[in-house]
Symmetry: C2
Subunit: 363 residues, 2 copies
């Protein structure tokens, strides 16, 4: 196995537990023998489980094979006591040929200490040369959570190549290809909650569930609903087909008493346009650490205008619908001149067929 | 050299004469020795020049090296007498290890005959496994010319990622990055003419020239101007900074006499919306074999609506401008429902940084 293949496999291992370790990060580990033949792999399987490195070590019966072996782990090995003893203490028992990590621990209080510890023990410790953008993306929500104690927001749009998200009469469900549903459901899996605006709720009555073979996960829902227009309808809505009322977080400036009685979770905000950055702190307090914003058009514009989201995912059908009957997903966004344009950095094309799937960092 | 590298180099050779061989196709050729070491290369340099294969052969002094050598050529070698004797007769003098071609000659009257001829002489003749989409794209205008005796139309748009081509007050020139100008000028070089609508002419007074280091080429201009609104202004316009009046083709339903006196070239069309497919035949008759359509917004919509263009090139700045002050380049396009959407097939991402540059076949 090449180093690139090993890190790729470690990332795949990490993703096995996607959606089930929050607020901790997913971690994957691969061990190759001294000749770079595969020996073992492991991942952090759920909140409170043993760490990826330990799982990989435990799975390997014959520890003699670890002589001069190569370890690949997506995140810097931990050096602190959390729910588990520090991984570095388990690692230092063996005579590694090399230890390659994907990214430093984003926690400023421990970042680099695992690497330093292992280097001090005489190991060859190095950062991977591969998948740098993907690794950064993989840990960005965790990094924001740790550093700023607020929830991570990402936008997800689905449109034609000319940015039309829906036709006037409401036809939008099939703008992107049926096969792209996997992308959507995979994305939902990575986030603690899905956020929509009240108009999308009223118009679409969506389920916002995760449909993935062999997998059941009930994401929370955040509903931006300043005036509480959803309240009379929530108890009969399709949101409840996959979750209970308390997993629906209505962000509203209604009077609290009325809402609390209904059984839903409630996030009180001042009257007027919702301050989304302030909301990200409130959601973090509610243990909602990452939020996928799925629309509609007005909601997207608020997030872009307030520069409240860190990342954008776009599923784009390679087709054109035009503005005569189509509604563009940025139609409410007001950028006065070119120098104020909202930029997308670190653009990655994740897929090109049948739909174009791209992502980047909003700034 | 691998076969892939050899065909890549042959394509690069072919492109050296881009813009200077119309109506003939660009062709490039690479010769490797029996051990696949580079020996020689050649290209079709201008209309009436010797063919790429012959240039590559001529450049090689020591013909003994051709024993069991490998020839790569972007287009099937010709078997007919045109301005040159047939290439196959020059090729058959040597004992080739293999002959790899990029694409069959699109001319239905000779397509496959060069391959058949060489195979009959006992050579191993094969089609390349690489750059299939690019080769098809490279020869698509020539193929349409040959098969349908009409001009090839491609659209080129420049916009933000949310499809905004200009801001209300007209600011559009810098939506895409300055470095993407190379892309635009390279594209212009591949086409015999650039087409714009009269409103773009009146609004922008563009030059539509080709700015490329060490290169001067005066493309023709086609102006869609049914009512002849451009006529009083053409003689003072910036179009004339790089070309003469006769290289400006005004497509109009004005009375002919008035136009002919002005010194411009004139293409008469019936009153009402211009039939663009009919126009493609007329342009072919005027020896304009390929046309790059550069806008504006109304013109793009006509081409999309009438399904008159074969290919779309998009230069997309990874940023968002919104519809409040932005004008989307498809805003006039009217697609009634999703099943009538205009599709982009064979999507290719040609570049991702700093701007996204993509292309596909409109259908």
């Amino acid at each position: 196995m090449t180093d690139k293949e090993a890190m790729d496999l470690a990332l795949k291992e990490a993703k096995k537990a996607k959606g089930f370790v929050s607020p901790n990060p997913c971690v994957g580990c691969v061990i190759l023998d001294k000749n770079k033949k595969f020996l073992s792999s492991g991942f952090y399987a759920h909140y409170g489980a043993i760490h990826a490195e330990i799982m990989a070590l435990n799975k390997l019966k014959n520890k003699k094979l670890l002589n001069q072996a190569h370890l690949f782990v997506t995140l810097e090995p931990c050096v602190h006591f959390g729910q588990n003893p520090p991984c570095v203490e388990s690692l230092e028992k063996y005579s590694w040929g090399s230890i390659t990590y994907g990214i430093e621990d984003p926690n400023p209080q421990v970042s680099g200490r695992g690497i330093k510890y292992l280097k001090a023990k005489g190991f060859l410790v190095k950062k991977t040369d591969f998948f740098k953008l993907e690794l950064k993306r993989f840990y960005e929500a965790f990094a924001l959570n740790i550093k700023e104690k607020r929830s991570f927001f990402a936008l997800k749009t689905a449109s034609s190549l000319d940015s039309v998200a829906t036709l006037n009469h409401g036809e939008s469900q099939w703008i992107t290809e049926a096969s792209s549903k996997n992308i959507s459901h995979n994305l939902r899996l990575s986030f603690d909650a899905i956020l929509i605006g009240v108009e999308s709720f009223l118009h679409d009555n969506p389920r916002l569930n995760i449909r993935k073979e062999g997998l059941e996960k009930k994401n929370k829902v955040v509903l931006l609903d300043p005036l509480g227009r959803s309240l009379p309808l929530l108890s009969k809505s399709r949101l409840l087909t996959v979750r209970s009322l308390k997993d629906i977080y209505v962000v509203s400036s209604c009077r609290e008493e009325k809402l609390k009685k209904s059984g839903i979770s409630f996030i009180s905000v001042p009257k007027g346009e919702i301050n989304l950055k302030a909301l990200s702190y409130k959601l973090y307090e509610q243990k909602i650490y990452s939020v996928l914003v799925e629309g509609g058009i007005k909601t997207f514009s608020y997030f872009l205008k307030q520069k409240a989201s860190s990342r954008l995912y776009q599923i784009i059908n390679p087709s054109f619908l035009g503005g005569y009957r189509g509604r563009y997903w940025t139609e409410n966004l007001n950028v006065g001149n070119l120098k104020d344009k909202i930029r997308l950095k670190s653009l990655e094309i994740l897929k090109t067929s049948p739909d174009l799937f791209l992502t980047g960092i909003l700034s």
